[in-house]
């Protein structure tokens, strides 16, 4: 996709012209992230997070492939092979800590990326497909992260696998058979570990493929922007390169800085000490908790403590998966034609409540299951579903949005107090 004023790739050197005729990859890059892709000029730093997610994926793949050269996916030796990586493999400690903390960074960045989408209405027409592909990527990431955590075969690895695969037994009639089929046995054991390793290696490449579709789908209409107003003319955009390559470099630097602080100075901050104990099927840990990025969903799961037609366990499983699946329907649940929450005061207020709600759910997911926390979780889970399924459809119909700017350029000029048109032209 390009706007009519997009720059065209015109190779001058003979080698580049030859390549352009035979396999136009440089043209593809030029049109996707180079000077040939016009992007709204008013993007803020929340637009950095897509690239950061891609960088995090690349880091995970590189560290993961090297780790896989040294890891042994057999229940008797897996834990020992990870310790051997930490102690004997050159820079093995770095690879392991980078990969484990890289998963946390990847999910942090993706959560902020999704938050951007929710706030600025990036899921709305004409970008519904971008959003749907994004939710698919998120689901694949969660599966990959879960399976990766099982691989070191520590206490949390084993018992986390036990809990999560236990969900399948909640399905009536066929649930238990499905669970045993997935596990390769009656409980997580060597068969489970082996197949999780295989799938954990595979899925990141599936994610990479879906990301290509995700970016392709985005480049058809082009990027959204903080006002939510469509691009109207050349003065509304700048070429991706060098403007956003430069800005992404800054974002990348900050990302890597935070990542380095984690890996080198606090590598076990986000982990659980129980995963440094070898898996023991006969000894259940006092508190089985997933990694921080799954805590809100874990809280939703645990909140369903009452039977009502269906058993509570099944409600919990349906709600936990439902909490992510409902994201697929978001473009149709929220029918407001106004994209950006900057111009939707009611929607914006509810979104801020949702953010706080998710943080509360995260806290409850990891906290002791005392009555106070269970009640907090139940209220927070109720709000989560109410927000997406009841509040959003009604808000779209009943709110009065603030007046939108006429164009992106108008919004930019208003911010700078208005000035001569020459200043807004690209140098």
């Amino acid at each position: 996709m390009s706007f009519p004023w997009a720059k065209h790739y015109e190779p001058k050197q003979p080698l580049m012209r030859w390549l352009d005729e035979k396999l136009p990859l440089p043209r593809l890059v030029y049109n996707a992230v180079g000077a040939g892709y016009p992007v709204p000029r008013n993007l803020n730093y929340f637009w950095n997070f897509g690239v950061l997610a891609g960088a995090a994926l690349a880091i995970q793949i590189v560290t993961g492939i090297v780790l896989a050269m040294h890891f042994a996916a057999n229940a008797g030796v897996a834990f020992g092979s990870v310790e051997s990586i930490m102690r004997d493999v050159n820079a093995g400690w770095f690879l392991r800590y980078a990969h484990a903390n890289g998963a946390s960074m990847f999910l942090l960045v993706v959560y902020i990326h999704i938050g951007r989408g929710l706030y600025y209405g990036s899921y709305k027409a004409p970008r519904e497909m971008v959003w749907l592909l994004g939710v698919v990527i998120f689901l694949l990431m969660m599966a990959t992260a879960f399976m990766g955590y099982v691989l070191p075969w520590g206490q949390m690895s084993f018992w986390g696998a036990q809990v999560i695969t236990g969900f399948f037994s909640a399905i009536p009639l066929v649930g238990e058979s499905i669970r045993v089929w997935l596990l390769g046995g009656f409980a997580p054991d060597n068969a489970t570990l082996n197949r999780f390793f295989s799938l954990h290696y595979l899925l990141p490449f599936v994610i990479a493929g879906v990301i290509i579709l995700h970016i392709w789908a985005l480049h058809i209409p082009g990027s959204n922007n903080p006002t939510g107003v469509d691009v109207k003319g050349e003065q509304d955009t700048v070429p991706f390169h060098p403007y956003y390559t430069a800005k992404d470099a800054v974002g990348l630097g900050v990302f890597l800085l935070l990542f380095a602080l984690l890996i080198f100075f606090s590598p076990n901050l986000l982990g659980h000490p129980d995963n440094y104990i070898e898996a023991n099927p006969l000894s259940t840990p006092a508190h089985i908790v997933p990694e921080w990025y799954f805590l809100p969903f874990y809280a939703i799961l645990k909140s369903f403590t009452a039977d009502f037609i269906l058993p509570a366990k099944l409600w919990g499983v349906l709600a936990m998966f439902g909490s992510i699946l409902l994201l697929f329907f978001l473009p149709w649940l929220d029918s407001s034609p106004v994209r950006s929450a900057n111009y939707r005061p009611k929607y914006r207020a509810f979104l801020i409540v949702l953010l706080l709600d998710v943080l509360v759910l995260g806290y409850v997911g990891g906290a002791e299951p005392i009555a106070r926390n269970v009640v907090l979780g139940q209220i927070a889970a109720a709000y989560y579903f109410a927000h997406f399924l009841i509040i959003l459809p009604l808000v779209a119909a009943s709110e009065r949005p603030r007046p939108l700017p006429g164009s992106i350029t108008e919004a930019v000029l208003a911010k700078h107090g208005g000035t001569s048109p020459a200043k807004t032209a690209i140098a």
């Binding site: 470099a249 800054v250 100075f265 006092a286 209220i379 889970a381 000035t419 690209i426």
Partner: protein
């Protein structure tokens, strides 16, 4: 239509949660969870301020050697150290001949096979061996320890919350169970064979106090071996066994962070330069 279905589904989830909430509150009022002894009497360890703490932490090699001596003379009778090899001890400042001597003189020998008869036997340790377990298998370990399994200590500093300080607090924490506790929670009275230690998660630990008196381990470097000193030294040693690359990690971290700070600064400058003439 979409709106109708979504409101119904939303109402279903919210409704079931409301029922669950009612149940939780009703149970909390009518049958509240009783207090537990652990909740009241469990203690959290204090920071012992080891040299390896903090961003620029480094090990104190003399302390690590003392800690190794404590492990060797007190702990190794029951606790394995299976992820550490004898050759790793060169990092504590021992020379190669010293490490060879430590290995060959180690009380527990390495399982082996008699090359002539094929029978199971043992041989002296060499530096490339990992520390052998004091017990042949878990059954033997439990049989010798009142059915308790002494855990491997290689990762203990990472396998417990605030592990380094926990190890010190636990070793120093043995005391008589307070009468008040037994009065309030008669069921939590320390059973025979266990020992009261409020730093242990469920207050009663199977391990008898390993550090019983000052001077128990006569330190090679002449430091006064008080119980507190021995506890600190073995905590430092076990921090090293869990994180042998700590110093290398901190050094690499410092270099990376300085590099990235400069990179961020330059990237910011380039960004400002690129966008200078464009309003945004």
């Amino acid at each position: 239509m979409v709106r109708l279905i979504s409101i119904l589904v939303g109402a279903a989830f919210v409704g079931v949660l409301a029922i669950a909430l009612f149940g939780t509150v009703a149970t909390a009022i009518s049958d509240p969870a009783p207090e537990t002894a652990e909740a009241i009497y469990h203690q959290h360890p204090e920071d012992i301020g080891l040299s390896s703490n903090g961003f620029f932490g480094r090990f104190d090699r003399r302390q690590l050697q003392r800690g190794f001596q404590v492990y060797k003379e007190v702990c190794s009778a029951c606790h394995s150290l299976k992820f550490v090899a004898f050759r790793d001890l060169t990092e504590l400042g021992y020379s190669e001949p010293e490490v060879k001597a430590i290995a060959s003189q180690w009380a527990i020998e390495q399982p082996s096979v008699n090359p002539e008869t094929g029978e199971a036997t043992t041989r002296k340790n060499i530096p490339s061996d990992r520390f052998p377990s004091p017990f042949a298998n878990e059954v033997a370990a439990r049989a010798a320890n009142n059915n308790a399994l002494p855990p491997d200590l290689s990762l203990m500093a990472k396998a417990r919350h605030d592990g380094t300080n926990y190890i010190h607090a636990l070793l120093m924490g043995y005391r008589t169970q307070p009468a008040e506790l037994v009065r309030k929670f008669p069921g939590a009275k320390t059973p025979t064979g266990l020992h009261y230690n409020p730093w242990f998660a469920n207050l009663n630990i199977a391990m008898p106090p390993p550090l019983t008196s000052d001077g128990q381990v006569p330190y090679a470097d002449g430091t006064r071996a008080t119980k507190d000193q021995m506890a600190r030294d073995v905590a430092a040693f076990l921090t090293w066994t869990a994180e042998p690359k700590l110093e290398r990690r901190h050094a690499a971290g410092l270099a990376s962070v300085v590099f990235l700070l400069i990179f961020c600064f330059l990237a910011w400058g380039a960004y400002q330069n690129v966008w200078r003439d464009v309003k945004h």
